[in-house]
């Protein structure tokens, strides 16, 4: 039986993703490959991918409800749609998030800067998108924090996002930022994205209509994954 050559996923436009070597972010200097990447045409292993929907706990979508008490900080709802670059919703896909607490400290052994830990906040969550590709979780707004990249370096407040889509080329890890953060200009990670318009797509929007009255503010963060080529191409038979 001949297996038809499947349609692959489109190449991201230039400037969308950061160059692996971005010396302003010091850790890239010894961790970025020096050889050029080798193009891998998309075959069966690349047009498929992990479809993970299990093992979601009842409080995984609410980072404020994972301990005996409520965490400190501004309660927020973060929501949005996961779709592909053709505008098609990506349903039933796992969204994983992690973040610092309201003081800008991570619940992690290697984060030891002198900001308080919060016994009521771990900072990890996961949800699966609904049939329309939508996700929602509740958390607190993370704080900014200093890091050792350069003198007086501060990371803008952000939430880490991990997405799978439905195929291996759609895998994406990104960071969601908050509107109008004055720390953007000095942050080499945010600014590693060459295209300024692409950079802005990592910034959530405040959504007054989605706020929960007398409960929580709301930020919308839509995530766009790679779309698929429309027509399968033929590979010459060998």
């Amino acid at each position: 039986m001949t297996i038809p050559h499947p349609a692959g996923y489109r190449v991201p436009p230039e400037g969308t993703h950061p160059p692996l070597l971005s010396p302003g972010y010091r850790s890239t200097v010894l961790r970025s490959p020096s050889q050029p990447l080798v193009v891998l045409p998309h075959r069966l292993t690349e047009v498929t991918g992990p479809l993970l929907t299990g093992d979601i706990g009842p409080r995984d979508h609410d980072l404020t409800a994972q301990h005996a008490g409520e965490p400190q900080g501004q309660r927020i709802v973060v929501f949005g749609q996961v779709r592909d670059s053709d505008g098609r919703a990506v349903p039933d896909t796992l969204v994983e998030v992690w973040q610092a607490n309201a003081a800008g400290r991570y619940h992690h052994a290697r984060d030891n800067w002198p900001a308080p830990l919060d016994p009521n906040f771990t900072g990890g969550g996961r949800v699966v998108t609904d049939a329309g590709g939508n996700y929602t979780f509740t958390t607190i707004k993370p704080g900014a924090y200093p890091w050792g990249n350069h003198h007086n370096a501060w990371r803008p407040a952000h939430i880490h996002f991990s997405l799978f889509g439905r195929a291996f080329p759609q895998r994406l890890v990104t960071q969601m930022y908050f509107p109008d953060d004055p720390l953007f200009a000095q942050d080499p990670i945010f600014n590693s994205v060459p295209d300024e318009k692409a950079r802005r797509r990592m910034v959530s929007t405040f959504d007054l209509d989605a706020t929960r009255p007398e409960w929580a503010l709301a930020y919308r963060f839509d995530i766009v994954l790679r779309g698929r080529e429309q027509t399968p191409f033929e590979e010459p038979h060998e």
Binding site: P4, R31, S34, L44, E46, P50, H108, G123, H160, V173
Partner: protein
């Protein structure tokens, strides 16, 4: 209509808060007949182990099938998830327990697709694991055959005892692993 993509950013040093699962490294349950432990060390360009990275694997089942609707042969229906992930430990080591995938039937040798994430990687890097007992299939695999032999060798795991394969990943410098643009 073509919407513009969301850019990639690094996982940062604290990825274990969001990405580690107790059984994430088990593509198959412990005790599965024919299971193989794929393990190795993630190194940076100075030859130091990367102790805050995560390695993910994606592969066909032992019959070369995917339980995925976009497999043109149809979803296998086997329930085989095919996915593993292992954060690197204090020695930079990852471990994934899996089975060797079967050939998918399009001329490629059995392989596992791999994503590596870490602080200092602004986007994942992708590579592949091939198997040392598949010399004939490896010799005609389109990817391996397109590479100089010393580069192709970085993609072939090494036997490391009964049921154990070693696959080190070198991000940069001498013996740098071949990384793939997918």
């Amino acid at each position: 209509m073509s919407e513009l993509l969301t850019p990639s950013q690094t996982v940062g040093p604290f990825l274990s808060l969001g990405l580690t699962w107790p059984t994430g490294h088990l593509v198959v349950p412990e005790g599965t007949p024919g299971a193989v432990l794929v393990s190795g060390v993630l190194y940076d360009g100075a030859g130091d182990p990367v102790t805050d990275g995560i390695v993910e694997t994606w592969q066909a089942d032992a019959d070369g099938r995917f339980d995925h609707p976009d497999d043109p042969r149809g979803a296998s229906g086997s329930g085989f998830a095919g996915f593993g992930r292992s954060a690197t430990d204090e020695d930079g080591r990852y471990r994934v327990l899996t089975v060797k995938p079967g050939p998918v039937g399009d001329g490629q040798a059995p392989h596992i697709d791999v994503s590596v994430f870490a602080r200092g990687l602004l986007d994942r890097v992708v590579t592949r694991i091939y198997f040392p007992d598949e010399a004939a299939a490896n010799a005609t695999d389109p990817l391996l055959a397109s590479l100089p032999p010393e580069r192709a060798a970085t993609l072939v795991a090494q036997p490391a005892g009964d049921g154990v394969l070693r696959f080190d990943i070198r991000l940069q410098g001498a013996g740098e692993t071949v990384f793939l643009l997918v």
